[in-house]
């Protein structure tokens, strides 16, 4: 089913550094290979420094914990070797039937949906191309529509986390930001310490009532702390504000910039797909390719409602990068899950194609919450040999979602063209 490429193992002499892939903080975690020997081609991360470091972060600990099994051997690549997916002896027995059935369904399907959670650029590129090639629809069920709509209406004055850490004196957390990004404050504190800067003032607004009070008083800058802040940043938890509150915040932020610097940092998911879809098509999801050129589906619905992704289709390709990513809704006769293993309950899933986890098992790119910056995830560094940086990567236990999507697309389209 997948290409089988010989994987050469190499011993790792140097401590390695990896950027934690699970949130935009770009936490740099050390991985000491000397303390964690390779055993039978596998580098077990249980108990190593990656795990112990990340245990201070609930999000990372949870996700790393699920991936103890996935910690693969490293392969040393040189610049001439392809990074086609490597299948390292994993059993794919049974998948061949699913693969065949999926190709057959896709080659006959009149209505195809591509949906799910997409967190990296490569998968986003493949998803847009798949939807375009099948003349199907591309949804993004996890996208924060309120933010994209507010951006279209108002624009914004924003920032990124490291800039806030260095340039702000006060940060305001709107909603449970720390629950979603547990190391955010610590990460910013580390940067401020490195630059010998005073600690940031932190304000938390956890309820709608507190927010209403802030609006009432804040518009006149009667809050003492707001009045004294010369450089502010507003971190907004996903889903905490509705579109009207976002509009109010953006207006307020705009006004504050008359006398000081103030920026919003929406910690939303879905930025990667929006960015990639915009450069590939000029538009952002949800998109309909049924007439050839992409059309935005948002404008087929009323101005205040989101498009309804629950429509019947012949095939739904559902992206599920993490084990705790959403499960597919029963919207299609046949659902192909690309990503993590999915319990085959109640959803009527027929085919699951296990793929590598972005940032852990495959190198990929992701955009941060502000929608402007991409970082390399899973980037590993040989710390004593600066010129060999990037030559050592995690071996890929499974093919990437982008690769599986591209193969599904090209092979089923080829079948469509067969007489």
């Amino acid at each position: 089913m997948y290409p089988e490429t010989e994987c050469r193992f190499a011993s790792i002499e140097n401590p390695l550094e990896i950027h934690c892939p699970f949130c935009p903080l770009y936490c740099s975690l050390a991985w000491s290979a000397s303390e964690t020997p390779i055993t039978e081609g596998r580098l077990l991360n249980q108990g190593d420094r990656v795990f112990s470091e990340s245990s201070s972060c609930a999000l990372a600990a949870e996700r790393w914990g699920r991936y103890r099994r996935a910690a693969s051997a490293y392969s040393r690549r040189d610049s001439n070797r392809s990074i086609e997916p490597i299948l390292m002896g994993q059993s794919v027995v049974g998948d061949a039937l699913q693969w065949e059935e999926s190709l057959s369904r896709l080659s006959r399907a009149k209505r195809v949906i591509v949906d799910g959670l997409i967190v990296d650029v490569q998968t986003a590129r493949a998803a847009v191309r798949a939807a375009a090639s099948f003349r199907g629809r591309l949804y993004h069920s996890n996208s924060d529509h309120e933010w994209s709509e507010s951006l279209e209406r108002n624009g914004l004055i924003g920032s990124t986390i490291h800039d806030v850490a260095l340039h702000a004196d006060t940060i305001v957390m709107l909603g449970p930001v720390n629950d979603t990004w547990p190391r955010l404050e610590r990460r910013m504190a580390e940067i401020r310490e490195a630059n010998k800067l005073a600690p940031l003032g932190v304000r938390c607004i956890a309820t709608a009532g507190e927010l209403a009070t802030l609006w009432a008083n804040g518009r006149e800058l009667s809050h003492e702390w707001l009045n004294e802040a010369r450089s502010l940043a507003w971190f907004i938890a996903p889903g905490f504000l509705n579109r009207y509150q976002i509009g109010s915040l953006l207006d307020f932020n705009d006004r504050l910039n008359g006398t000081r610097r103030s920026r919003v940092v929406p910690m939303s998911q879905g930025t990667t797909l929006r960015t990639v879809a915009s450069w590939l098509t000029g538009l952002t999801p949800p998109l309909d390719f049924s007439r050839g050129l992409p059309q935005s589906l948002e404008y087929e619905h009323d101005d205040f409602g989101q498009p309804d992704p629950v429509e019947r289709a012949d095939v739904c390709i559902w992206l599920r990068p993490y084990p705790d990513s959403p499960l597919p809704p029963p919207v299609a006769e046949f659902t192909i899950v690309v990503g993590c293993e999915t319990p085959q309950v109640e959803q009527g899933i027929v085919a699951t194609f296990r793929t590598s986890v972005p940032g852990i098992e495959s190198s990929c790119l992701s955009y941060r919450g502000d929608g402007t910056v991409c970082v390399a995830l899973g980037q590993i560094q040989g710390s004593t040999d600066g010129r060999c940086v990037g030559r050592e990567v995690l071996a890929i236990d499974w093919p990437s979602a982008a690769y599986v999507l591209s193969r599904l697309t090209s092979e089923s389209l080829a079948r469509r063209l067969q007489p």
Binding site: H19, S28, R125, G155, G158, H162, L365, R387
Partner: protein
């Protein structure tokens, strides 16, 4: 494949051909000279009687990647809905390449298509932030059919400014610049409003070339001098690409002249210089500074320019210069904008804008651009750009070429703009007309030489067979808008102005040398921004070819010899 182009009327300044008729021979990806003892047996022949031929054109400054355009598209989808156009006989496999109506901000695949249909075979994104290098290359890889590359933005990054504040040895700054270019696979270094974007993050709203930065205690002049020195020292073919201070402000010609002085004899390229060429004279307090600038250019042979010509109509301005874009928000049309600080490296500002021919300032901007083209008599030092999409979309290039080549057309166009602006400009007194050789220099040989692309921009044996064929017509705009044939790396990809074949992107990158031991000495600066520095940004050849999906083409510095990987 072997191809013979018969009776080609060739305009190729490097070989001295100025319209002479000859045959051109293509073997594989290259132009060749057939050996006398071995007759050239062509697989295909084209009779080009009635046509003229130039190398593929090169756009050295066009914003076609790097996140800014994506934000702009997300900001105003209402202005960018695609409208399809009928396309007969197309067998293109990629649905994202379908023909659509031109807009001021087409998506990446369509950018590639429109460029190649206009005879452009190489285009360079001028503002790639180091932290966004991967995203930029992915976006460029999705811009098919052309050669591409990007210039990395430095000069507002916390690392460099801290190093200058601490007065570290220039050798270490050279190392940092080289390592950043190497890691991000850049084709040059650009500085945008040196120090100004950073100052804006500290709530300073203005920073002139000789003003002291409120936090780092250094001046933009120091930043420019240090970066220009580093670019020369590490052997980059292209000089430091400079977006000067005070873009768009009346009287900013003074800042531009100070910027030239700040370079202290090092090579610099002043980009979209039309936006930096304004005086304060006249009743409106806004006048042309083109005479002063041209005089300065004549006195400083180390300086080149591209124009950033303004064209009338709706567009969007996208720039790393967040300080300027914050000021420009008040002129936004439609009235919305995005201003973002990015990762202690620079910023980003997106402001939609409409240039109107009856507005004094806009009309004078248009005229100043043309003055610069026509006053500077050496077309090898002035390059054709609109700073796409800032001055207007790249699809207006054929119109600009007609304005430069046809004095009566120019006169008519001048009569249609704001009369006061027309009177304030010197354009009516400039009778010079560009020749085909001038166009070939400005859009082919000079940018290739500038970028160190030794195998492009000319038609001599050994060159890559990027060839554009035009039909002679009375209307230069129609001629340049629709080449009859475009060969890219030896393959016919455009015929009669229509795309007929697909080809992947080739990504050019420089690989300057540096001493890793020197880089280690800078670790504390990298820790201050928490990103690990250039080492963490490293993009490998196989990542580019397998993961990102473009064909890497590396150039070693100093020799700039192309090495396809």
């Amino acid at each position: 494949m072997k191809i013979r182009l018969r009776n080609a009327e060739v305009y190729d300044p490097p070989s001295g051909r100025d319209g002479q008729r000859c045959d051109l021979f293509i073997d594989g990806q290259n132009i060749v000279a057939p050996l006398p003892e071995r007759p050239f047996v062509a697989d295909a022949e084209f009779d080009l009687s009635g046509h003229f031929v130039m190398a593929g054109a090169i756009d050295l400054h066009t914003h076609i990647g790097g996140g800014k355009a994506a934000i702009a598209r997300m900001l105003m989808p209402e202005l960018l809905r695609p409208v399809s156009e009928p396309e007969r006989g197309s067998n293109l496999r990629d649905p994202l390449l379908l023909r659509r109506q031109d807009s001021f901000l087409p998506p990446a695949p369509y950018v590639g298509r429109r460029y190649i249909e206009m005879g452009y075979t190489a285009c360079f994104e001028p503002a790639m932030l180091p932290c966004n290098a991967r995203g930029t290359h992915a976006e460029l890889a999705d811009t098919p059919l052309i050669d591409a590359g990007a210039y990395v933005v430095l000069g507002n990054d916390h690392i460099l400014l801290s190093m200058l504040r601490d007065k570290v040895d220039q050798r270490l700054i050279n190392c940092y610049v080289a390592a950043t270019v190497h890691a991000t696979r850049a084709m040059g270094v650009k500085v945008v409003n040196a120090g100004g974007i950073s100052a804006f993050k500290f709530n300073q709203r203005h920073l002139d070339v000789d003003e002291v930065h409120p936090h780092y205690g250094i001046t933009p002049a120091q930043i420019i001098r240090s970066l220009a020195c580093a670019v020369d020292a590490i052997g980059l073919p292209q000089p430091l690409h400079v977006h000067a201070s005070n873009l768009g402000m009346a009287g900013n010609i003074e800042s531009t002249l100070k910027t030239i002085a700040a370079a202290a004899g090092h090579r610099i390229h002043l980009t979209h210089v039309q936006f930096h060429c304004y005086g304060k004279e006249g009743s409106r307090g806004f006048s042309s500074g083109s005479e002063q600038l041209v005089a300065a250019l004549q006195a400083n042979p180390n300086v080149t320019i591209d124009v950033g010509q303004v064209m009338f109509g709706q567009t969007v301005t996208i720039s790393a210069d967040a300080m300027h874009q914050y000021h420009a928000r008040r002129y936004a049309k439609p009235r919305k904008s995005v201003i973002v600080d990015i990762e202690c490296e620079a910023g980003c500002g997106v402001v939609p804008f409409k240039y109107e021919h009856r507005r004094y300032v806009h009309a004078l901007q248009w005229a100043i651009g043309l003055e610069l083209f026509l006053m500077l008599d050496n077309p090898e030092r002035v390059f054709l750009t609109t700073d796409h999409p800032n001055g207007g979309p790249f699809t207006t290039y054929p119109h600009i070429m007609r304005l430069l080549m046809d004095a009566s057309f120019r006169e008519t166009a001048l009569s249609e703009v704001d009369a006061e602006a027309a009177a304030a400009s010197q354009l009516s007194g400039l009778s010079r007309c560009y020749t085909l050789t001038d166009i070939a220099k400005m859009t082919r040989s000079a940018p290739a030489s500038f970028l160190g692309l030794t195998q492009q921009g000319h038609l001599q044996p050994g060159a890559i067979a990027d060839i554009t064929v035009y039909r002679h017509a009375s209307d230069w705009e129609a001629t340049f808008a629709r080449p009859t044939h475009v060969f890219r790396r030896g393959r016919l990809v455009v015929r009669d102005g229509q795309l007929i074949d697909q080809a992947p992107t080739v990504l050019h990158a420089l690989r300057p040398d540096y001493d890793p031991a020197d880089l280690q000495k800078l670790q504390r600066y990298f820790q201050q921004v928490g990103n690990g520095g250039p080492q963490m940004l490293q993009i490998s050849d196989d990542e580019l070819s397998s993961l990102i999906g473009a064909e890497p083409c590396n150039h070693s510095c100093g020799t700039a010899k192309e090495m396809l990987v």
